[in-house]
Amino acid sequence: MSFDQNAFLIILTGSLIAISCGLLGVFMMLRKMSMTGDAISHAVLPGIVIGFFVAGSQRGIEVIIGAGLLGILATLIIDWLRQKARVQLDASIGITFTLLFAIGIILINMLANNVDLDQECVLYGEIAYIPIDLWITGSGAVLGPRITYLALLNFTLVAGFIYFFFKELTLTSFDESFGSVIGIPSKGINLALMSMVSYTTVSSFEAVGAILVVALLVVPPATAFLWTKNMMPLIKLTTVLGIAISILGYYLAYLFDSSIAGMMVSVAGVLFLLSALIKGRSRKSAGTSIANI
């Protein structure tokens, strides 16, 4: 097979996004906050729409700021519902993200004429258009695919964040109180992690769609967790899975002429279920039913 530049670009971007999401997802999973990640990725939608509206056709920093604010707002609402209104956690998450997502969809419909954004884009993303969506400077010089640059920047920031705060992140994931005792601001670390998740969601959403970001946040770490319980192997395995998912996802989507992002998630799902079958605790009780959840 000859070198296909478009395929390479798409796979590269997909891998970068999958790795960024997966790395953050490891810590979300260890904190038992996978569903919060899900909630954030739904909840940033109104921020994205408002950002698009403010920025006009130019997709700029406003979108990222808007989404970041909404992501933080979502965590704050969940906390408020839980602590001040005493709603149980699962319901707090459910209420928050459905409301914010609904507002986002309504805004898209209301601003449909002013915003270059539609429901489908939110759902599927447009990773296939990466090679033709070029970053062109004011003077007309073509610098390359815009979303790939965004993904690269996102990956650098996420990797940097985890590298510099590795100790703090790990410690507060396992034992928040101990972290506080030895002087780590666990609330601040938590908020920083949530902000990184919101930022990553926004940065990735054009490529893979807002909902499928969740899959990349949750599934590779969960798959890796089935194979190892150690921190470093967990991170490495998540990274490898991210790359494998993009490569397989791209070629399968090519084969079936379907959504690349959707196919990436499906591949991730198959790997996850296979791992669960192989590493499942006791395969004796396989005769289960949906009776016991």
Binding site: S34, G94, T98, N109, A215, F225, A268, I290, A291
Partner: protein, 426 residues
């Protein structure tokens, strides 16, 4: 306004179908949702509602058109597989429940997107409305759909009503249910089927992404108003129906608007009102009752201090002395002094504070309750006299006159408390 009248007088039979559909759907999903909320399984509903997407697409591919029976069956099967996988993974891996739910949810949804894009590229002209299943379009409900969705909703409502006792056991005390011989596994199985069905009936009107809200929010909102299960179910059904009709009406007058988001927004509005304004459990009323209680304790502590001072025949307390007693609560104490003075419980002479007759009898009451409770704890609970003070310090603000009378009778009107202090009476 014309629209309003046109809509709510049901001149158009198709609007009547839509409203009947929404009402049945609202009641059904609110019922199931309230149970799953009480069972703390609210997010499972979210997982199922995302997970039905591949089934919808497969149903469409098999039928070649939007046949409600094929689509409902497909949705039901994929929801069932997702539920089964969730339970299987939970038992056979060490992953936490939220990671499992989030994984299943996103993987199924991703696979659904793959199928959806394949359908769209396939160019079947019937596929135009398939997107409605994602965000919902209640207006598109026609008679044929109503029979399927409404019928299923009725099945859900009837099953829950008939087997109410079994499902109550499941939610509140499954171990007890097992002990008295109920087949709890089969009841759980039945409930999961109802849960999947309740998602399935909402896909046309509300859409798969937001269906979770119709399961979670009504119960959570109704929980603020009542502790009674029947009232809870009725109230949550009412909330769901109101917001369902509101959402449908909005997408009727603004046809480009999908129904689901508006239903969710009105539902959340009801929830917000409940959270803030519900009597007793609402945040605002809780804030005020907490403040009132804090003020009451401050005042009663102050009265007690003044009374004890008198009891020990020490020189009268000055304001400065009182501030010294409570160095961290100066503002609260100042407010309490002002209020006690206004109500005629204390006298201010220069900076000396003393109790009025009314104040003395009020202070006696607090001290009496404190010492009665201490006596009760030592005599009936066998707690050492040096361990009873803290509990009495809290209970003295809470004990009602009825309880006081009972304590008096039970303890046979004691004269002294465990610390040999006089129990004051008027």
């Amino acid at each position: 306004m014309d629209n309003f009248i046109y809509f709510f007088t049901f001149q158009d039979l198709s609007i009547l179908y839509v409203v009947i559909g929404i009402v049945l759907l609202g009641i059904g999903s609110a019922y199931v949702g309230t149970y799953s909320f009480l069972d703390k399984k609210a997010l499972l509903g979210d997982a199922i509602s995302h997970a039905v997407l591949p089934g919808i697409c497969l149903g469409f591919i098999l039928a070649g058109e939007k046949n409600p029976i094929y689509i409902v069956t497909g949705a039901f099967i994929s929801g069932g597989i997702a539920t089964f996988l969730t339970s299987w993974l939970k038992r056979n891996t060490k992953l936490s429940e939220d990671a499992i739910i989030a994984s299943i949810l996103s993987v199924f949804f991703g696979f659904g997107i793959v199928l959806l894009t394949m359908i769209q590229k396939g160019g079947n002209p019937e596929m135009a409305g398939l997107n409605h299943f994602i965000f919902g379009n209640a207006i598109a409900i026609v008679e044929k759909d109503l029979w399927v969705y409404g019928g299923l909703a009725l099945v859900i409502i009837l099953t829950l009503t008939i087997y109410q006792k079994e499902f109550n056991l499941l939610v509140f005390n499954p171990d007890y249910g097992k002990a008295i011989g109920y087949p709890m596994d089969r009841i759980r199985f039945g409930f999961n089927i109802l849960m999947i069905l309740s998602v399935v009936i909402g896909i046309q009107a509300i859409g798969v992404v937001l269906m979770a809200a119709l399961l979670i929010t009504p119960g959570a909102a109704a929980r603020f108003w009542t502790n009674n299960l029947s009232k809870l179910l009725i109230l949550s059904a009412l909330f769901a129906v109101i917001s369902g009709i509101a959402g449908t009406y909005i997408s009727f007058i603004m046809p480009q608007m999908p129904t689901g988001p508006w239903v969710v927004v009105s539902l959340s509005l009801i929830a917000l009102i409940s959270i803030l304004f519900a009597p007793k459990k609402g945040t605002i009323s809780r804030f005020f009752s907490r403040n009132k209680y804090l003020k009451k304790t401050h005042k009663e502590h102050l009265l007690k201090a003044l009374y004890k001072n008198q009891e020990l025949h020490e020189p009268p307390l000055t304001i400065e002395k009182i501030y010294e007693l409570y160095p961290y609560q100066i503002k609260e104490i100042k407010d309490s002094i002002d209020e006690l003075f206004k109500n005629g419980l204390i006298l201010k002479n220069q900076s000396i504070i003393s109790l009025t007759d009314f104040g003395i009898s009020e202070a006696k009451r607090v001290v009496r309750l404190h010492r009665l409770w201490e006596t009760y704890l030592t005599e009936y609970m066998n707690i050492a006299p040096d361990h009873v003070h803290d509990s009495a310090e809290k209970l003295e603000h809470i004990i009602t006159p009825e309880l006081e009378a009972q304590l008096e009778r039970r303890l046979n009107y004691p004269q002294l408390d465990p610390h040999q202090e006089n129990i004051p009476r008027d």
